[in-house]
């Protein structure tokens, strides 16, 4: 699963969090964050579905009965290690919103222009 981009050593880091005031819509505390988390989860679920669909198509093309094989399969130690590392990126993406406040504070603009006055 070659998808842990965060560990590439010569990467040029970009800022992922939007600086300045965060948009809020719900009165109850934390609901805006929960929406973000749900959307992150839905996105990651879709990633899995695409990967699963590709795998099944490949397996079928090769004449492998995926359902039977899956039940008895075990990852090797190496595979397990790679998967564990992958899982950290997975969690970080889903709970991204919880690091936003801290990162936005770090990149805080001195004088962000205001939105038009609220009606």
């Amino acid at each position: 699963m070659p998808d842990d981009s965060s560990n590439v050593s010569d990467a040029t880091p970009l800022r992922y969090s939007v600086k300045g005031k965060r948009m809020r819509f719900f009165d109850a505390q934390g609901v805006d964050e929960l929406v973000s988390i749900c959307m992150g989860l839905a996105q990651e679920m879709w990633v899995l579905k695409e990967r699963q669909a590709a795998m099944e198509a490949i397996a079928e093309a090769k004449g492998v009965m995926v359902a039977d094989e899956m039940e008895n399969f075990e990852f090797s130690a190496e595979q397990r290690q790679a998967l564990d590392a992958e899982r950290q990126g997975f969690i970080d993406r889903i709970f991204f919103t919880l690091r936003e406040e801290a990162e936005s504070l770090e990149a805080a603009p001195e004088d962000e222009p205001p939105a038009p006055s609220m009606p």
Partner: protein
């Protein structure tokens, strides 16, 4: 895997999972802008507006009144919160590949910039350039790093973030090379104003140059220039142009204070630019355009249509971005009287024009030519929207 909409030499490789994330964001955008926006309008029409009318004996007068009335509704909150999240996910979904290839991309751009094989364009950036505060203090449309942030020498990353993000954002609606807006507007303009034979054309706030290059296709003999305050953008724009084999010249400059000589251009253009500029600076941009144009030269701006052209609800719908998408100057621009501002900058009032060009990508050349015959710009709820049916509004005047 690469973004299908990017077919030049600066494309980056996204992993399979990153591509899946992008597919999801495209699906989410379709859901939010079509399904959810459609449901929101129904709730407005069937519940919120009738209740307002009952209480006040009239309909809401304008966009802000619709906004104020709608804000407490759950559908508005979910539409808004999901639209913000989707917008942020657009950029985040493309960033990992650009982080991996950032240094290499910078090098690829330099090689393309220095190669005269396919095109002979130029680029100049200014290490002492001061980015205007209305850009430097903001992550416009929720894009972290905006158009200008730089982290390494010859950095083009923010250009790449914008290009790749736009590919996810537009889901094909911007046509080949994502140039449909200017492709449509410039085709319309050339057919409508056949007397204009430009030798020099300037594109202000050009970002990636997708608003610059179509002018070279319309007028192959003209010298075409693009300016932007973002160093990463003008470098990327030049690399992109060279890759496509289109000769164009890019400069890191502020549209209010360029280094060009008086009366040196025949067309001064901008695309999706003015609404990101405070009104006070827009006045400066119009004055600068007037200074740069030769007598008889034309200023042309592709933009979001003005609030005066729309219903109260559509005004509210389009102004949403000013409040929640970090485009705070957008509303003041859409509320302004473009004709009055242009006249104040020295243009002839009777030369003011406005048109709506149907998308060439979506409706074809024939529909575009048919529209050229019509007078003025008409009110149409499709104008300026990005979801269903695409019409491009533009206005301008002559010196």
């Amino acid at each position: 895997m690469s973004n299908d909409l990017i077919d030049h030499d600066l494309k980056v490789d996204h992993t399979k999972d990153e591509s899946s994330r992008q597919h999801f964001v495209q699906g989410m955008r379709g859901y939010v802008l079509n399904d959810l926006a459609g449901n929101m309008k129904k709730v407005w029409d069937r519940k919120v507006e009738p209740a307002f009318e009952k209480a006040n004996g009239r309909k809401p007068a304008d966009g802000p009144e619709v906004h104020k009335t709608f804000k407490p509704e759950t559908i508005f909150k979910f539409y808004s919160s999901m639209r913000c999240n989707t917008q942020e996910m657009v950029w985040r979904s493309v960033m990992p590949a650009i982080e991996r290839e950032g240094a290499d991309l910078a090098q690829r751009v330099q090689v393309l910039s220095q190669s005269g094989d396919k095109a002979q364009g130029t680029v100049d950036t200014n290490p002492n350039f001061e980015v205007p505060r209305y850009v430097s203090e903001l992550d416009v449309h929720l894009m972290p790093g905006n158009y200008h942030e730089e982290r390494i020498d010859h950095d083009v990353s923010q250009g790449a973030v914008f290009d790749n993000g736009l590919g996810v954002f537009s889901f094909g609606l911007l046509g080949d090379r994502m140039e449909d807006i200017t492709e449509s507007v410039s085709t319309f303009f050339q057919a409508r104003y056949p007397d204009v034979k430009p030798e020099k054309i300037l594109d202000m706030g050009c970002t990636l140059g997708h608003s610059t290059l179509p002018w070279k296709a319309r007028y192959p003999d003209a010298e075409v220039h693009g300016i932007d305050v973002g160093g990463p953008c003008v470098r990327y724009a030049h690399g992109r142009a060279q890759s496509y084999g289109v000769t164009a010249h890019f400069h890191q400059m502020d549209a209010e204070h360029t280094d060009f000589e008086d009366e040196s251009f025949d067309i001064v253009y901008s695309c999706m630019f003015l609404h990101e500029v405070p009104l006070k600076n827009i006045k400066g941009v119009f004055k600068e355009a007037h200074r740069l144009l030769k007598p008889g030269g034309v200023m042309v701006h592709y933009e979001l249509p003005p609030n005066s052209m729309m219903s109260a609800y559509d005004g509210f719908y389009l102004d949403w971005d000013a409040y929640y998408n970090k485009e705070p100057f957008y509303k003041a621009f859409r509320d302004a009287d473009a004709k009055a501002e242009i006249t104040a900058a020295g243009f002839k009032a009777d030369s003011f024009f406005e048109h709506v060009a149907p998308s060439k990508n979506l409706y074809g050349q024939d529909a575009l030519m048919e529209a050229v015959k019509q007078e003025g710009a008409t009110n149409d709820s499709h104008v300026g929207r990005f979801a269903d049916g695409v019409m491009w509004y533009f206005f301008g005047a002559r010196k």
